[in-house]
Amino acid sequence: MAAHFLVIENLGKTYPATGSATNPPVFENICFAIEKGEFVCIIGHSGCGKTTILNVIAGLEDATAGNVFMDGREVKGPSLDRGVVFQSHALMPWMSVFSNVAFAVRSKWPDWPKHQIESHCREYLEMVGLGHALQKKPAELSGGMKQRVGIARAYAIQPKMLLLDEPFGALDALTRGTIQDELLKIVQATRQTVFMITHDVDEAILLADKIVLMSNGPYARIAEIVEVTMPRTRTRAEIHHDPQYYRIRNHLVDFLVNRSQHFAGIPTANDWKPPLVRPGLTVSSPASM
């Protein structure tokens, strides 16, 4: 256990019911782990509790059951060790692009002198290609640029782990492609540990090392974990030439269309371990993680 970077143990969430009725849990007995430097995507239909899991890892929400450990310490409340990129970018509209990032940087290193904060922020905004828009207000930016600022803000505090809550969901396909490329480049260069929610199968295959598949709620569970068995040096331009790409893609789409409903409404066994799947290669079960 101690070897894993992030460990999620028997996580469950039940929302309080109105009146005397009891609600079934949205999800229960969620167990998985993330290694340092790993990029993990989670895919599932709306309402299966993906965002809740991410919020629990971020420390923004409490689970009803189970624990999360990062780097051997239990996650209790939000921390600067985990940077979050929000679905709605969540930039402060009254601050400039630069100030938004500087606000985060100053939170992490309150003792830094002004020039150090400035050069640090500039570096991260240039990394996402926004070196020219430092003094713009978020309202003056396109959706893609806003989300880039969000990524820069999360990255700039140099967190141990990055949590992305469907960051490109609201973007058009072209913009999404460009930002995916940029994120891929940055993540490959920094070996950042990332946990990301997405609805986009192609996005998951492009970015992830492992893809966690969640079944539908109530009683949502991790149905299986798919390993993306392609070299990490993949690019968006070439990835679809790899024969392995379509095997993985078909497997994921099959899951979302058909198999994701199989577990809905069935309580999850305490010792449920999702199988680790390598589509087109071998199937090893249950996951040895």
Partner: protein, 282 residues
């Protein structure tokens, strides 16, 4: 396009004003028959009362009011005893009272509104009190204020304080309570300290709503000060109006009314500008 539109609007405004003054002038022309009838006993009575003849002409004509404007605006700062001060001095007294009462209200309403806005429990607990206190005419507090404070000037300030506190308190609480969850979550993930969060996140996020409350409060305060000064007396534009009414100097009353309107407009404009300053586009 925009400029010509604006010029047209200005032109229409001026025309409307001229029409208004014209109609006013015609309506207040001395009536022949009435003048003729004012003979005998009436004329004698008028003579007995001194300058009575001038005043019995009824509603003042624009020219008389214009004369009052010239007289008062040409020397706004004179001070000839308690009942005869320049208009600027009277307005200054009123503005000082409004300013002081308003400032005190800000000092109470902003922190209180912040606290209430942060705590749904407090918000619910205090809601009945606010709902009962809010609709009370601030002038109804005057007897209590005079009795406890024993000073008419301070009582005036207290009345302004009471009337301007509610819109600010309610708007601040509402603004603080409805700060976007996302922004608070950002602050939480960045482990921002409570005080820094209050000033860097919550205050700017709620500022437009708070400023709206301040603008409403200032409007009400300016409405109330006239009535309060009529009641309390001594100085101020409200007292000036009442005093001129007692002198039966209606041109001066009309002049004072106009000044109240202009100052009120300026105050509202000031807060409108402040509001624009803190408003952000999402």
């Amino acid at each position: 396009m925009m400029r010509s539109e604006r010029a047209k609007a200005a032109l229409i405004s001026v025309l409307l004003f001229l029409v208004f003054v014209g109609v006013w002038h015609i309506a207040t022309l001395p009536k022949e028959s009435a003048m003729a009838a004012t003979s005998g006993a009436d004329a004698e009575y008028a003579a007995l009362m001194g300058k009575g003849a001038e005043k019995s002409g009824g509603f003042p004509a624009p020219a008389q009011v214009g004369k009052a404007f010239v007289t008062y605006l040409s020397d706004p700062f004179y001070d000839r005893g308690p009942n005869d001060k320049g208009i600027a001095i009277q307005l200054g007294h009123s503005l000082a009272r409004v300013g002081l009462g308003f400032l005190l209200a800000v000092l109470v309403a902003l922190p209180a509104g912040f606290t209430i806005g942060m705590s749904p429990l407090l918000m619910r607990a205090l809601d009945p009190f606010i709902q009962v206190l809010k609709p009370i005419s601030p002038l109804a507090w005057m007897p209590l204020a005079l009795y406890t404070l024993k000073d008419s000037s301070i009582s005036g300030i207290f009345v302004i304080f009471v009337c301007s506190i509610w819109p600010m308190l309610i708007n601040t609480a509402f603004g603080v309570a409805s700060v976007r969850r996302d922004w608070l979550n950002v602050a939480r993930t960045l482990e921002v300290k409570p005080l820094r969060k209050a000033f860097m996140v919550i205050l700017p996020a709620a500022a437009p709503t708070i400023l709206t409350g301040m603008r409403i409060s200032m409007g009400i305060a300016w409405l109330v000060i006239v009535a309060a000064e009529m009641l309390v007396g001594g100085t101020g534009i409200g007292y000036f109006v009442w005093n001129e009414w007692n002198n039966l100097a209606l041109p001066n009353v009309i002049f004072a009314i106009t000044m109240i309107g202009i100052v009120g407009m300026a105050l509202d404009g000031l807060f409108g500008r402040l509001q624009k300053l803190v408003t952000y586009r999402e």
